[in-house]
Symmetry: C2
Subunit: 139 residues, 2 copies
DNA sequence: CTTGACTCTGTAGTAAAGTATAGGGTTTAA
DNA sequence: TTAAACCCTATACTTTACTACAGAGTCAAG
């Protein structure tokens, strides 16, 4: 019930988010997560939101976003003096970027599916040269 | 008509693929593209397929694949002594990975779309805190 | 009340993926 | 026929994103 009252140490956050302790301090230095409050002895005290934020950073990296781009994504909400119009423009650009990524992934997927469909049994691979397509028609 | 007879130099390939000359030599050393034939004076001679291959590498990187993973994707066709069964298994794993990426991107996209929809006019941003969702429900 | 597992700051080292430079040969267009 | 613009190898440097100490303080279990 009262889990907000029990702040997480950096080690617990690291375990929950699946990263190392040093990585969290690194993200803090880089401005990807804000400096958390400290205990009397100087220990960082995190809330559960920090875990979600770090997991998001981790996943976004796996999707090909750089830390710089991820910071921009995260800043699509904290900025205190940006207009909604500005936010909308930035969000639109990100959506377009995401759409392009999805397109490329779908293309890769369909080529792999064709490969699987054509490549049956246990004949040698030279009989399955469908992947030519994967390397073509990119825009 | 006879464009196969005119091989491309490394500089032309680099320009066509949108990378630097050094990057191509680096990919060759890393085994991502095979060593091309050489001219009498030792110049590398590329075909247009090389351009497609390098473009594919470039795009796959932007989708969050490491060079090691990209190599695996490209090897889904050249190997001369793999069975189709093996290829099918490897392709299946790649498709699953791609599906997970697409899922995450769709999730990010829908959150950004909700942000744009909610955030109208020119009110300050604190009125648009929809992005909370972006940081959650990953899995 | 101590010992082992934390935490802190600060700095240094690493892996991946390029990018640049040195020192040399080649092609081509004026 | 020469100078700009290429290419070659080999090696060194850079950037991004961590990862690993060193040296010191803190906390919690037995």
């Amino acid at each position: 019930m009262s889990r907000i009252l029990e702040p997480l140490t950096i080690g617990k956050v690291a375990r929950l988010a699946g990263v190392g302790v040093e990585t969290i301090r690194f993200y803090e230095r880089e401005g990807l997560i804000e400096e958390p409050p400290r205990s009397a002895s100087g220990y960082r005290q995190y809330s559960k939101e920090a875990v979600a934020r770090i997991r998001f950073i981790k996943r976004a990296k796996e999707l090909g976003f750089s830390l710089k781009e991820i910071k921009e994504l995260l800043e699509l909400r904290i900025d205190p003096e940006t207009t909604c119009e500005d936010i909308r423009n930035r969000a639109k650009a990100k959506i377009e970027d995401i759409d392009r990524k999805i397109d490329s992934l779908l293309k890769m997927k369909s080529v792999l599916e064709r490969l699987m469909a054509t490549c049956r049994g246990r004949e040698p691979v030279s009989e399955c040269p469908i992947l030519e397509a994967l390397e073509d028609r990119e825009k």
